[in-house]
């Protein structure tokens, strides 16, 4: 049975891969459409789940039950009902609005949010689950997520409302500032892995949880929290949700939005939350490499056949999604617990705390990386089995320039090796 399944899978993979390699438009389009459908589903369904989750989490935090009725138990269809309601709502555009920009802004936001997923892998090693395997994936994701702020500014400007404009300006200031510490934080795992390829970064952390970059050294541990803070700020979640601060700016940049357009902003927000959390999970929490290397222990690796390897990858995908969901839940927890900061305090947090801390941690991690052997803590804790895992070469290692090459280059320049 397994043999047959392996055969079928091989055939499918060959068809899919072959069609891309043969450079045929049809094959490419099919592949692209499949990827798009999968990612759209992830973001849209993710948003559905998150909105439901947010209701339940907030309910529990506030000593309530949250939705209970729609869809039978737990109100699990509540978001769908909301969606239908939003679809049927009147679509309002203010008279003074810049109609084109007003209409287009939500889609810009959603596209930016969705595009980030193109380069985010969900499983790695021999057969990465990723729509487009980029060797600058981290950089790409950060760059694309930065585009979302455009939607907010365009919406704020086009709404022809002062409150919206306030929200947009706040968002601009906030996001541009927070990109600095966030970038600094992201550079730390990039530096440790020696690659900007997310697949490679994730693979580098394989094994037990001690190999996660979170536990790589004390500096990365702190960097993770700084990153998470900045990530929260960059996706506009409480306590940094100044762009839509309802007690001050009515609803900020989306004051004038209603119906479907508004829901696109909403989906973009949840998509970004997921993207930021996924990035955090891959960069710091080992990505698809769990606290316990279940797949390896069970032998679900590519060496034992493609189907088995695929299963292992699938487990890894569930793993990374679980971590991301957990981080998103933490964001919700924070949102329903803390008051909102003031704009100057938000900027202070960024410029006076996050940026210097991130910079210092970057230097610290670099020094640690330079002076101490890799995985000091992991070496203390890990089992022989995990050590064996580590000994296996990584598929991404071929990307790395070996030291000999560098040395040769140095000598060619007449330098000291």
């Amino acid at each position: 049975m397994a043999h047959l399944l392996n055969q079928i899978f091989d055939w499918f993979a060959a068809w899919l891969g072959g069609s891309v390699a043969n450079d045929s438009v049809a094959g490419y389009v099919v592949a692209a459409l499949i990827y798009l459908a999968l990612l759209l589903n992830l973001v849209a369904v993710g948003a559905l789940v998150f909105i439901w989750l947010e209701r339940k989490v907030s309910g529990r935090i506030q000593d309530r039950l949250g939705p209970t009725r729609v869809g039978g138990k737990f109100g699990w269809l509540q978001t769908l009902a909301d969606g239908i309601k939003l679809l049927t709502k009147e679509d309002l555009i203010p008279g003074d609005a810049d109609k084109l920009l007003f209409r287009i802004a939500p889609y810009v936001g959603f596209c930016a949010s969705l595009s980030a997923f193109i380069a985010i892998p969900f499983a790695g090693r021999d057969f990465p689950f990723v729509a487009q395997h980029l060797n600058v994936a981290v950089f790409f994701v950060l760059a694309v997520m930065g585009l979302e702020v455009f939607a907010v500014i365009l919406a704020g400007y086009a709404s022809a409302s002062k409150w919206s404009l306030f929200g947009a300006m706040r968002e601009a200031a906030q996001v541009v500032s927070y990109e600095v510490p966030m970038g600094l934080c992201v550079v730390v795992p990039v530096m440790l892995a020696g690659s900007m390829d997310l697949v490679h970064i994730g693979d580098k952390q394989q094994g037990w949880f001690t190999n996660w970059y979170l536990f790589h050294d004390p500096f990365t541990f702190i960097v993770f929290w700084v990153y998470f803070t900045c990530g929260t700020a960059s996706v506009n979640r409480a306590p940094f949700d100044l762009a839509e601060a309802e007690s001050e700016l009515v609803a900020g940049f989306h004051t004038e939005y209603s119906g479907l357009r508004w829901s696109f902003f909403f989906m973009a927000e949840y998509g970004s939350m997921l993207a930021v959390s996924l990035l955090a999970a891959i960069l710091f929490l080992g990505g698809w490499n769990g606290p316990i290397p279940v797949a390896s222990l069970l032998g679900l690796t590519w060496h034992n056949g493609p189907l088995v390897g695929y299963l292992g990858n699938f487990l890894g995908m569930l793993n990374v999604l679980a971590k991301a969901f957990l981080l998103v839940t933490v964001m919700m927890w924070v949102r329903w617990t803390l008051p909102r900061l003031r704009i100057d305090q938000v900027m202070t947090t960024c410029l006076k705390y996050c940026t210097p801390i991130a910079a210092a941690m970057f230097v610290g991690a670099a020094l640690w990386h330079m002076t101490l052997p890799d995985r000091v803590f992991a070496g203390l804790l890990q089992s022989p089995a995990a050590n064996r895992l580590l000994a296996e070469p990584l598929p991404g290692d071929s990307i790395q320039l070996d030291l000999q090459t560098v040395e040769a280059a140095t000598i060619a320049r007449g330098g000291r090796p």
Binding site: K352, Y353, P356, G414, G415, P417
Partner: protein
């Protein structure tokens, strides 16, 4: 014990201890301030203790190093003097980088001078640290700065910055010791800049005060001018010698494969390259030119050496506040007084003199002459201004400038030991004087001499320690018996060298270099006693302040006494060990080949006499006597004016009004720089602003008019009836073209853009004629 291993280690620890104190204070105090946490008074006091104990330990280690040095290098023996290289140890602590041949390393060069400087710097720094505990006391709590008014009309209230003071003080000590210890010029330069930064921070300590922040900026910028020259000097040395190391260094390298150290042959330093043993330590200018064929007559290497020497000296001019870059030092007095004592009199400003001394082997006689002349000018300038200043710290600041001039003069005239000896003694008595003035300021809360007077009853310790300092600086002593305060010996050494120089160079211009220091001795005595009298003798100038004056706390008086002892005795030979004295230690460090009578290559009549010649009685006796009488006259003059009151200061001031005005305005140097540098820059920019109107307009208009006139001329000369109409048309056309051309200058950005495109297209069109791909070819 192997001194080659012990000394670098001990001195390195002594050097790094202040850095550790700085790091602890910075991480423990200044970083949390970012998070809004202000340390309390106790915690801040702890920072002070930390820094003080660090520098105190450094002092102890330096003394240990001095003892080790003396134990292994017996003094007095003339085993090397004039014939061999001084005993020294050099090497690298850490190799930073290697760019081709240039090795940048943290290295050390230890000789007697290094050890002596270490002891001197750490001792004074320790004293100042202890002193500051009392002086900076008010910074422990919230401070109301009465010199700064906020926009709402109140005085500025700010939290105390006690710990920050100590933080910078520690950093400064570290940097200064770094200069002293440095094994190569690159490292010197780095620490050179670091002390500059520390000086900037410390001058601007009260940065809310406009005067302080301006002074800090000024000090920093003026120093940059000098450092620019220094960089040129470093480049000259590096490009020609390929190294910046002072001494010969044994290279060790780590192989890339393992961790085995391989010993690479010795790398020659600057000193041995320029004055190699083969050449009997004579300055070998040909070492500066790397190509084999050197033309003796063209002296390219000699010129390069001259440039290198001048370059390094220009750095020293900035740091040591020599003419013409001396203007920053008086302004630097805006910092707290302990800073003035440590940074701006005893150590940092002396670093310039130290560097000239350290790099002495590379100075050609002509460069030394420049040093001497600049030193003499500075000497005269500083002394003359100090006579008229009323701010107690300004008097001392100009005095510092003047004394630095003495040192430079001595170095420039070939008195290597004399200059550095004066550096050491000056460090002690000038820091003493500054600390005393700080004590006075602390007591009366004013800098103005006119607000003081009669204070010796109120604060006897301060008064008499300061008297000791004054006597030391004027060089009080008895020439016949040969005893005196420390300044007596060092200043005599300088003047003796000048005397010796004047004897060796009969040219009348060179005689000036003798008269200036003697006149300076007179002025020094005059203004120092004027200072002391105005402060401690006579009637109180400001009764209210006098009432509230009091002796300073023991933590301030203690350092005064320690320094006073040194100010009196540092020039003496140690009892029972007559070999042990500062001069003999310095003599041990004299660079090889510099103890000989040398003459210039470019200026052939210039002769720099051997320093030992100046100790001959026929030179030494008249020199020390003339210095003594000059000083005595100065004291007498001051006493006549301020104690006996035979002469009235105001009358003198009125009768010499123009001179007084010149001096009290510090020779108008600040105004001079305003006129020579700032204004021309403005004028130049104005020139550019109007260039359009003055160049383009007349051009276009003139062209049009030219054609118009030409047309009219033709019109008159040629028959009107025949060609009248055609010429008219031509003239009009030209006129129109002129107008049209004029209109091209619209000032519109966008039209210029269009012109740009037209031009590009035109170029393409032309290019297409010559090049086949340009246009659809």
């Amino acid at each position: 014990m192997n001194p080659a291993a012990t000394l670098p280690a001990v001195l390195a620890i002594a050097w790094l201890l202040p850095l550790a104190a700085f790091a602890v204070v910075w991480i423990g105090y200044s970083l949390p301030q970012l998070a809004g946490r202000r340390p309390g008074a106790t915690a801040q006091r702890f920072a002070g203790w930390l820094a003080t104990s660090a520098i105190g330990s450094s002092f102890a280690l330096s003394m240990f190093a001095l003892v080790v040095w003396l134990a292994y290098h017996p003094l007095g023996g003339d085993e090397h003097g004039g014939h061999g290289a001084p005993p020294s140890y050099s090497g690298d602590y850490y190799l930073l980088a290697q760019f081709g041949e240039l090795r940048l390393s943290i290295g050390y060069y230890i000789d007697a001078l290094t050890v002596a400087m270490f002891a001197m710097v750490t001792l004074i720094s320790t004293c100042v640290h202890v002193y500051s505990m009392g002086y900076m006391d008010e910074e422990l709590h919230e401070v109301a700065d009465h010199e700064v008014a906020t926009s709402d009309g109140n005085y500025l209230h700010r939290p105390g910055r006690y710990h920050r003071f100590y933080q910078y003080l520690s950093l400064f000590s570290f940097s200064m010791l770094g200069i002293v210890l440095a094994g190569n010029l690159a490292m010197v330069f780095v620490f050179w800049e670091l002390v500059g930064i520390c000086s900037y921070f410390l001058i601007g300590f009260y940065y809310e005060r406009p005067s302080a922040s301006t002074a800090a900026n000024k000090a920093f910028i003026v120093n940059r001018i000098g450092d620019f020259g220094m960089l040129i000097g470093l480049m000259a040395l590096w490009t020609s010698l390929g190294t910046l190391q002072f001494g010969d260094t044994q290279l060790t390298a780590r192989t890339s494969a393992g961790h085995v150290k391989m010993v690479v042959p010795i790398e020659q330093g600057i000193f041995s390259k320029l004055r190699s043993e083969d050449q009997h330590y004579h300055l070998d200018a040909s070492a500066m030119v790397r190509s084999a064929e050197t033309d003796e007559s063209a002296h390219p290497g000699y010129w390069l050496l001259f440039v290198a020497g001048l370059g390094i000296f220009s750095g020293c001019v900035g740091k040591s506040a020599q003419f013409p870059l001396h203007t920053w030092l008086p302004d630097a007095m805006a910092g707290p007084t302990p800073v003035s004592a440590l940074v701006h009199s005893a150590t940092m400003v002396a670093a310039g003199v130290y560097l000239v001394g350290r790099c002495y082997p590379i100075f050609v006689p002509e460069a030394l002459l420049v040093v001497a002349v600049v030193g003499a000018v500075t000497l005269a300038l500083g002394a003359s201004i100090a006579i008229t200043a009323f701010d107690i710290k300004h008097v001392l600041a100009y005095s510092t400038i003047s004394q630095l001039g003495y040192m430079m003069l001595a170095l420039g005239l070939g008195g290597w030991v004399a200059g550095l000896f004066h550096l050491v003694t000056h460090a002690f008595f000038k820091s003493l004087l500054f600390l005393c003035s700080g004590s006075v300021i602390h007591a009366v809360h004013s800098n103005d001499l006119r607000h003081m007077g009669g204070l010796r009853h109120k604060m006897p310790w301060t008064a008499y320690t300061m008297l000791a300092g004054c006597l030391a600086i004027i060089g009080a002593g008895v020439p016949i018996w040969g005893i005196g305060f420390s300044g007596y010996f060092s200043k005599d050494a300088v003047i003796e060298q000048a005397w010796s120089f004047a004897g060796a160079n009969p040219s009348p211009t060179y005689q000036l270099l003798l008269y200036v220091p003697i006149a300076g001795a007179f002025a020094t005595a005059c203004y120092m006693f004027r200072l002391w009298y105005m402060t401690f003798v006579g009637e109180p100038g400001h009764p209210h302040r006098f009432e509230n004056a009091h002796e300073s706390p023991p933590s301030m008086v203690g350092p005064l006494v320690v320094l006073a002892v040194f100010a009196i005795g540092v020039g003496w030979h140690t009892p029972f060990m007559s070999d042990l004295s500062v001069t003999s230690i310095l003599e041990q460090a004299r660079p090889a080949g510099t103890q000989a009578t040398t003459s210039g290559t470019l200026l052939t009549e210039l002769t720099l006499p051997d320093e030992h010649l100046s100790h001959e009685p026929e030179i030494a006796d008249p020199a020390s006597q003339s210095a003594f009488f000059a000083a005595l006259l100065g004291v007498l003059l001051a006493t006549m004016i301020y104690v006996w009151r035979w002469l009235h200061a105001d009358e003198i001031r009125q009768s010499f009004a123009p001179i007084y005005k010149l001096l009290s305005n510090a020779w108008w140097f600040n105004e001079l720089y305003q006129w020579t540098f700032v204004r021309p820059t403005l004028a130049l920019s104005r020139l550019f602003a109007s260039i359009d109107r003055w160049v383009i307009d007349p051009l276009v208009n003139g062209l049009a008019r030219l054609f118009a006139y030409a047309a009219k001329l033709l019109d008159r000369v040629v028959d009107r009836g025949v060609v009248d109409s055609s010429f008219d048309a031509l003239a009009h056309g030209t006129w129109d073209v002129g107008l049209a051309l004029r209109r091209l200058q619209t000032g519109r950005l966008r039209q210029y853009m269009v012109f740009l495109v037209v031009g590009t297209l035109g170029l393409f069109a032309i290019a297409s004629l010559c090049w086949k791909y340009a246009l659809a070819g």
